[in-house]
């Protein structure tokens, strides 16, 4: 009797669920996001920032979207492309993830591209910054930036603001070369002259001889791109060698003054002008809340990698909302195209043609804040809705 009653109740529930169109097969209730990030190695700060930001977003917005539970699986690739590939394969084949995301460096993002195409799932790039990345698979969508975006803008800005002669110092790898070429193109088109060009090895212990060469070339400014992390070393040696006193300014894309490290660089960095997508001092209420929440949760300042991760997970959430929880990869990529939203960095959108990010690029000058005594990139000019110039050329 008793058993019969339970059975009928269960049957009734099942019937109602069936009518409502809910098919409660456990696997389809979760959406899995495979996050491949450098959590160890020289790029680990990138990985940690992105992971932190995603945690923060999910704390704020809950872990369910469109009726599905979002599960994040983090894999460490130490920014080594071979490991990225293995990690992506494991995530796709074993864990059956619906998204792969993260990617600290360009080679890592490229290594995963063919897998995203094959598996037909979106690859959300949250850090790597060379232009070509989104062209390598129709499933790649980017929420970070391209180096061309900031390098062309600082090139234009420098030419228009009385900087005539520039010496360049860039790391010798794809993003460094991107930064250099796009800067050079715009700076010389604006009437500037590149008087000295030095490419430094990626694993460079000592900048002294390169900086001495810069100093002897007597430029108005040095254009610098080194991976975030080496910026501190560069700035210290720049000051040690007296380049600041010789009146040589530092300009560049904002990696050299990443918020993550800026505060430890000392007074020599004050006055450095960079073009970039994000500053922890961006004066919007949304950013103030974001910085406060991030600081409270992780006891450090968010940098541009953190905001790229934050926007990346937001894009995933929005895509799922738009498909109503449908996890078909092709539909998800379609849903991401043309998304527009307000980010802590300002208004951004996803270009429907290139799947790359369109965002404001800010010109900022490093200054010491009066309220907390810390160093910040203070924005003073905005270039609005910048598309990736690396693609519009074609």
């Amino acid at each position: 009797m008793f058993e019969h009653k339970t059975f009928s109740r269960a049957a009734a529930i099942a019937a109602i669920a069936g009518l409502a169109g809910l098919t409660p097969a456990k696997a389809e209730d979760t959406v899995k996001v495979g996050l491949i990030l450098p959590m160890t190695g020289g790029q680990a700060s990138t990985g940690k920032q992105i992971e932190n930001a995603i945690k923060l977003y999910m704390q704020q917005n809950g872990d369910t979207v469109a009726g599905k539970k979002v599960e994040i699986i983090v894999k460490d690739d130490a920014a080594i492309p071979d490991k990225t590939k293995t990690a992506a394969q494991e995530l796709i084949v074993n864990d059956k993830v619906n998204f792969i995301a993260g990617f600290g460096v360009t080679p890592a993002a490229l290594a995963a591209a063919p897998l995203a195409t094959q598996a037909k799932i979106p690859e959300v790039v949250m850090a790597a910054g060379t232009s070509i990345i989104t062209e390598r698979s129709p499933y790649i969508v980017r929420t970070s930036f391209t180096l061309a975006q900031s390098s062309t803008i600082i090139g234009d800005w420098a030419a228009q603001n009385g900087i005539k002669k520039v010496a360049t110092l860039t790391s010798d790898y794809a993003p460094g070369n991107d930064a250099l070429n796009f800067f050079k193109e715009h700076f010389t088109a604006g009437g500037g002259e590149v008087v000295e060009e030095v490419k430094v090895p990626l694993q460079n212990p000592d900048f002294a001889p390169f900086l001495q060469r810069m100093k002897d070339a007597k430029p108005d400014a040095i254009f610098v791109f080194v991976p975030a992390g080496q910026g501190g070393n560069f700035m210290k040696q720049y000051a040690e060698r007296g380049l600041d006193k010789a009146g040589i300014k530092v300009i560049g894309p904002g990696d050299v003054t990443d918020d993550d490290l800026l505060n430890n660089m000392g007074d020599a960095v004050i006055g450095t002008v960079t073009a970039h997508l994000y500053s922890a001092a961006h004066p919007s209420q949304m950013n103030k809340d974001f910085v406060a929440a991030y600081k409270k949760a992780f006891n450090s300042r968010p940098g541009f990698m953190a905001v790229s991760g934050y926007d990346g997970i937001h894009l995933i959430y929005e895509a799922l909302k738009k498909t109503g929880g449908d996890t078909d990869g092709t539909k998800l990529v379609e849903a991401m195209k043309g998304q527009k939203w307000e980010s802590p960095r300002g208004p951004i959108s996803i270009d429907p043609e290139t799947r790359d990010i369109i965002q404001n690029i800010y010109i900022r000058r490093v200054a010491r804040s009066k309220s907390d005594g810390e160093l910040y990139n203070v924005e003073f000019q905005v270039f609005e809705a910048v598309k990736d110039p690396g693609k519009t050329k074609k």
Binding site: D206, F210, E240, N264
Partner: protein, 289 residues
């Protein structure tokens, strides 16, 4: 002309730094015939100790430097007594595997405790910047490196050549059995020497943070430089590594200044040329024991 001299100065400073970092390895490798690839881990330990004392406990930089030496030496002697001494008689391959494992452990441990981002030591203002001497730019910090490392080198040479400990060490190295027969406590001499080498590495680590940068990957990143110094210098004395360090430091800086396109390879090219010319290093003995 002045830029040549500035580069020479920078090169000497860089070379001196390489020497202090690597000479402990020359001692263990050459004198004790032990392959210690974890040498860089001791350097890193010194660097982090100095950083923590200065940045978090407010010690003056010059007071923290000796502590960097002492702490690395203490870590060295503890590890020597507990782990290393069991491997003296083992094959070089065992030693390599053991010490490289130790290196990876140190990287992971520091990454876990201190985080992976690069750290800087807060220097006193007196050490920052450059001054001009007859048009040659002299970096204060690099000048300090040259002074400290120069004094150390002279001191080391004196200890090895003139003191009782130096002659005991040389005896213990040349023929451990005869030396112990003469009443020299060979294991103790080796332990002390090993610890001293680690201490030097620690001091080098603390001094190099400003110039080379300090992060948990330090032991792996600079292992190749230590090995080049010891290979080029030969490992039977400290004069060899000293001259090799200077040569490589000056060559590296000059290469990066004058031919920046191939700058990073100058140091490797020099190594190859020297090794073709003298396969055992500049001052190497022709035959090992």
């Amino acid at each position: 002309m002045t830029s040549i001299l500035t580069n020479l100065f920078d090169g000497v400073a860089y070379g001196m730094l390489l020497f202090v970092l690597a000479c402990g390895l020359a001692v263990t490798l050459g004198l004790m015939n032990f392959v210690n690839l974890a040498h860089g881990a001791f350097a890193m330990a010194g660097g982090y100790v100095c950083m923590l004392l200065v940045n978090q406990h407010g010690w003056p930089f010059f007071a923290a430097l000796p502590l960097a030496f002492v702490s690395s030496a203490v870590i060295g002697i503890v590890l020597e007594r507990t782990l290393y001494r069991h491997l003296y008689a083992r094959s070089h391959l065992d030693q390599v595997l053991f010490t490289i494992g130790l290196t990876f452990m140190s990287v992971a441990a520091v990454d876990y405790i201190q985080g992976s981002s690069r750290v800087f030591i807060n220097l006193p203002a007196a050490l920052e910047g450059q001054f001009d001497l007859f048009g040659v730019g002299i970096g204060r910090y690099r000048l300090m490196i040259i002074v400290i490392c120069g004094l150390l080198t002279i001191g080391l040479q004196m200890v090895l050549a003139k003191t009782r400990f130096g002659s005991r060490l040389r005896a213990a190295v040349d023929d451990p059995r005869a030396a112990s027969g003469l009443g020299i406590n060979v294991p103790q001499v080796f332990a002390f020497t090993f610890a001293f080498g680690c201490g030097l590495a620690g001091l080098g680590g603390a001094l190099s943070a400003e110039i080379l940068g300090l992060d948990p990957y330090f032991p792996l990143k600079f292992m190749i430089y230590f090995l080049i110094v010891v290979t080029v210098g030969g490992s039977s004395s400290i004069t060899g590594p000293f001259l090799a360090s200077l040569l490589l430091g000056i060559g590296d800086v000059a290469g990066k200044y004058y031919v920046p396109k191939m700058g990073p390879f100058v140091i490797y090219t020099m190594m190859i040329v020297i090794l073709i010319w003298r396969p055992n290093g500049l001052f190497g003995r022709t035959a090992a024991r």
